[in-house]
């Protein structure tokens, strides 16, 4: 390369204030291989780009260095400009003299000298640039949605309505997720089931959605556009294709006293059950840990009763494989476990609240079931211990959330709102009852949210205390709640009939294992990591995998739905064409020199390198080699640093380029 054009930008005052751009341009012009060196006030503007295009044509440039801002900002801009002028876009380099120079220095002389050095390095790199072609990868135009809660449902319907096939995997017997169990939703108090169940039915009946309920993702192979997903269909002991959902089996089942998962233990279910009447699919499963037939070959009444002959006690887990091009993870949340015993050493429970010890201390999801029309009490609020209607209920927010001592410093975001909602629902059901709320702050940002909380306080008379509860004890059938009212500066003692704890939101069980299978990241609490917190909120760092809903962070329904639609639209963009293009700055292995030690395969964090054989055109075996899968490689360069035979290199960032840059410094 010997005809490099260098274009130094002032960035208005941003660069020119501390860097003498005239001086820099003059000195750069003297560098070996530099054909022309110019500066301009706004190189990214239309006239600025025109200068670049014109010089490429008139000076027959074979490389371009733009000395301006970060490549994150404008590399694409200048690559496009170069391409328009007929230059391979990968022959464009950016020298960052703004973020890495002018913005961080005051001394004009030193900054000017440093800017020159930065440009010199980039010129060296440009001289060693090779023309690259974007990678084209074929796309399987189907998507996988993991999780059938409201976020998963929204994403699946959006993608399917756009004309693509969707595979949905849900580990519970029915889709619907947490939302299906809620009573009414804030801030409108519309019935949760009334708005969700029609969407569930749509999923169940959609010609382009293939639903795997009671199933889990077992294995993920492949790469963007070409994933192969192995799904484990857990033994249901009911043949879904024969079953009519008539309900004879769960009526006849004699083992009716099993705590219902859907009711969070507030109600009971038989050993063969559907989680709730509106379940999709409306087909039962047998709980093998409780069924007398499966445990000791007893009973078998359901099999005898079933006219459709759908019961199959010999059922086993089945593995099925599905090919998809993109994945949306929407696995949702669970509540922090309040009691003393904790799943992780980093978490601590609240012994002082007596959850698990006193029956009438419950969590918020349990309360939802107790006030839900479809709940175990038919919507009449009865407390668990004796079925009495509670006349005084204490709600405690931030149980786990924002509590460093318990290992969860984050805000769970939705508890302030649903606690206000709970006080309203309670007041609407028990008119002479009194709701008390202990809070730290009321966080009610959102459309109609603060008004909603005010309504709970002003119209429905909820008594709010700013302060924490130190202890809950039981005296003569009453729960004695002792706390502080920090605004009044007084200790408060309330005798309550029921206590509801707004436990923190944590990602659903098994999230870390799933993240590992998908090769995506999670934060220290297990929430999945987005690619960029502002600009790429639904993408992950693995191409083709997107996230939606509370698996990413605590979210309410509107937010989860919005994020699901965002993820769905990203998927639609991906699936819009038969091929997708990727940047070619990825690893390449010199298969001739590769010693087939496969160190790179073991170290590649993206599992992007495979074993391969080198053969003659006639098929005779020559040698083993490692080979990069261009669909998977993210261009991190780990293989380059570990390869003992120096056979791995990163296109666009070759060793040769980096050495040339380092040498030019000396």
């Amino acid at each position: 390369m010997s005809r490099i054009g260098v274009f130094t930008c002032w960035c208005g005052e941003n660069i020119a204030r501390t860097v003498d751009v005239d001086e820099v341009a003059k000195r750069v012009a003297e560098l070996p291989g530099v054909r022309c060196s110019l500066n301009y006030k706004y190189m990214c503007s239309d006239p600025g780009q025109a200068i670049v295009r014109e010089k490429i044509a008139t000076e027959k440039l074979d490389g371009v260095v733009v000395a301006s801002c970060s490549p994150h900002m404008h590399l694409k801009t200048f690559r496009k400009a170069a391409q328009a002028a007929g230059l391979n876009p990968y022959l464009v380099e950016m020298a960052n003299i703004r973020e890495q120079c002018s913005w961080v220095h005051h001394d004009r002389v030193q900054a000017t000298a440093k800017a020159f050095e930065i440009i010199r390095l980039s010129v060296e790199k440009a001289r060693n640039d090779a023309a690259l072609q974007p990678i084209r990868v074929p796309v399987t135009r189907r998507a996988l949605v993991i999780g059938g809660g409201v976020a998963g449902i929204q994403a699946a319907l959006d993608i399917a309505d756009a004309g693509h096939e969707v595979v949905m995997v849900e580990r519970e017997p029915s889709i619907g997720g947490k939302m299906a169990g809620l009573s009414e939703t804030f801030p409108t108090l519309d019935c949760s089931q009334c708005i969700l169940t029609p969407r569930m039915v749509e999923v169940g009946q959609h010609p382009r959605i293939k639903l795997y309920s009671y199933s889990e993702v077992e294995k993920v192979e492949g790469f963007v556009g070409n994933f192969r997903i192995t799904i484990r269909q857990k033994a249901r002991y009911v043949d879904v294709s024969k079953c009519t959902g008539c309900g004879e089996c769960w009526i006849i089942c004699p083992l009716k006293r099993n705590p219902s998962e859907f009711d969070y233990g507030m109600g009971m279910r038989p050993a063969i059950y559907i989680p709730f009447p509106q379940a999709v699919p409306a087909r039962p499963v047998i709980d093998k840990s409780q069924c007398a037939k499966l445990i000791r070959n007893g009973c078998g009444l359901c099999e005898k009763k079933c006219k459709a002959e759908a019961i199959n006690f010999k059922d086993e887990d089945r593995l099925v494989e599905e090919a998809v091009g993109a994945v949306v993870v929407a696995t949702g949340y669970k509540l922090y476990s309040i009691a003393k015993s904790q799943p992780k050493a980093t978490l601590a429970g609240y012994g002082e609240y007596g959850y698990g010890k006193y029956k009438d201390v419950i969590d918020s999801l349990q309360f939802e079931r107790l006030v839900s029309a479809s709940g175990p009490t038919g919507g009449v609020l009865k407390r668990p211990s004796d079925g009495a209607i509670p006349k005084s209920v204490v709600f405690i927010s931030c149980v786990g959330s924002r509590d460093n001592a318990k290992g969860l410093p984050y805000c769970s975001k939705i508890c302030c709102m649903y606690t206000a909602k709970h006080t309203m629902l309670y007041k609407h059901k028990v008119h002479d009852g009194q709701a008390h709320v202990f809070y730290m702050d009321i966080r009610a940002g959102g459309k109609g949210y603060d008004e909603f909380v005010r309504r709970a306080i002003e119209q429905d008379g909820a008594q709010y205390y700013r302060g924490r509860v130190s202890k809950i004890t039981q005296e003569g059938g009453k729960l004695v709640v002792r706390g502080a009212d920090t605004l009044a500066g007084m200790p408060v003692t309330i005798e309550a009939d029921l206590v509801v704890l707004a436990a923190a939101m944590r990602p659903a069980d098994g999230i870390e294992e799933l993240a590992q299978k998908l090769n995506i990241g999670c934060d220290e609490f297990g929430f999945l990591l987005e690619s960029h917190p502002k600009l790429r909120p639904v993408e992950t760092n693995t191409a083709g995998i997107f996230i939606a809903g509370a698996c990413h962070s605590p979210k309410d329904i509107p937010e989860a739905v919005a994020q699901a639609s965002a993820a769905a639209s990203k998927v639609q963009v991906m699936l819009a064409a038969d091929e997708l293009t990727r940047e070619p700055e990825i690893a390449a292995i010199n298969e001739q020199t590769c010693a087939a030690c496969f160190t790179c395969i073991r170290t590649c964090p993206y599992h992007a390198i495979d074993r391969a054989e080198l053969r003659t055109p006639r098929g005779a075996f020559i040698k083993n080699t490692a080979r990069v899968n261009p669909g998977l490689c993210m261009g991190c360069g780990t293989c380059v640093s570990v390869c003992p035979s120096k056979s791995a290199d990163l296109q666009g960032f070759t060793d040769q380029q980096v050495y040339a840059m380092v040498e030019s410094l000396a």
């Binding site: 003393k340 010890k357 004890t473 039981q474 005296e475």
Partner: protein
């Protein structure tokens, strides 16, 4: 068993009945208490609130003395003392702090000896050893075990039992043949810190504790803190006067119950010197 013994100010003074009880009970169990020589204040009172470094240096010296005398275990019956010792132990885990404190107290502070509170001492002896030694099972006793505020707190310093719902004392008391009750004020403050300056608070708190124990069917209270004992026993008459009711709740040290079960007399254990005695 030879255990280092740090009596602190209380056990030689206002709570010498506790020391009497401990010595009688432990000699019956063949456990020797070796009082560490030349011990000083544990730093729980004035130093604790006025000077952080001093509040570490004082217990650090006591630790160093115990280690110099070769004690692997250091028994501090008063929870304030044991908490202070544990705080110092935690602090000297940092090598820089360890060196600094060693310099201040002019002794090598290693922070290696194990600090025991009154309950842990009996846990160390072990329920297995206590059970066969019981000569007079305490069948008539239904005890409310009272831990007070400091035995289990701060949890990240003392690392002892469940700090909200502890149960270690119950297991020992049960081994002696006595019954225990579930009640609500196991770890609440007795108000001992306010004894001198605000008696109203003290009486109210003591009243809550004593009457809650009685309401849950206890006929006595068991404590493992000399401060709690002073407050609940000595102040009980005042509580009765203030609230106009008869409580008559005997307050035992844990060692009293162990001693009684081992067949020792109330006089040997110093129980007769308590303010509230069995009617």
């Amino acid at each position: 068993m030879n255990i280092g013994y740090y009596p602190g100010c209380a056990l030689h003074g206002s709570s010498n009945d506790c020391e009497q009880s401990l010595r009688a009970c432990l000699s019956a169990l063949d456990v020797q208490l070796g009082e560490i020589k030349d011990w000083i204040c544990c730093g729980a009172t004035a130093a604790h609130s006025l000077n952080h470094k001093l509040s570490l240096a004082l217990p650090a010296r006591n630790l160093a003395v115990a280690e110099r005398d070769g004690f692997k275990q250091l028994f501090a019956p008063c929870p304030l003392c044991s908490m202070q010792l544990l705080k110092a132990k935690k602090a000297v885990a940092d090598e820089r702090v360890r060196k600094e404190l060693s310099e201040i107290v002019e002794a090598d502070v290693r922070g290696e000896s194990e600090v025991l509170n009154l309950i842990q001492l009996f846990e160390k002896i072990g329920v297995d050893r206590l059970k066969p030694a019981v000569k007079a099972p305490l069948e008539s006793i239904t005890a409310a075990c009272y831990y007070g505020c400091l035995l289990t707190r701060p949890p990240d310093v003392v690392h002892f039992d469940d700090f909200e719902q502890p149960s270690s004392m119950e297991s020992i008391v049960a081994a002696l043949g006595a019954k225990t009750v579930e009640w609500n004020y196991k770890t609440e403050c007795c108000g001992a810190g306010m004894t001198m300056c605000n008696e109203d608070i003290v009486l109210e708190l003591a009243h809550k504790i004593l009457s809650n124990a009685a309401e849950h069917g206890a006929n006595c209270l068991v404590v493992a803190c000399p401060m709690c004992h002073v407050n609940l026993d000595m102040k009980q008459a005042a509580v009765e006067r203030r609230f106009g009711k008869k409580l008559g709740m005997v307050v035992y040290y844990l060692s009293d119950l162990v001693g009684l079960a081992l067949g020792l007399s109330a006089e040997q254990l110093g129980i007769n010197r308590h303010f509230v005695t069995q009617a």
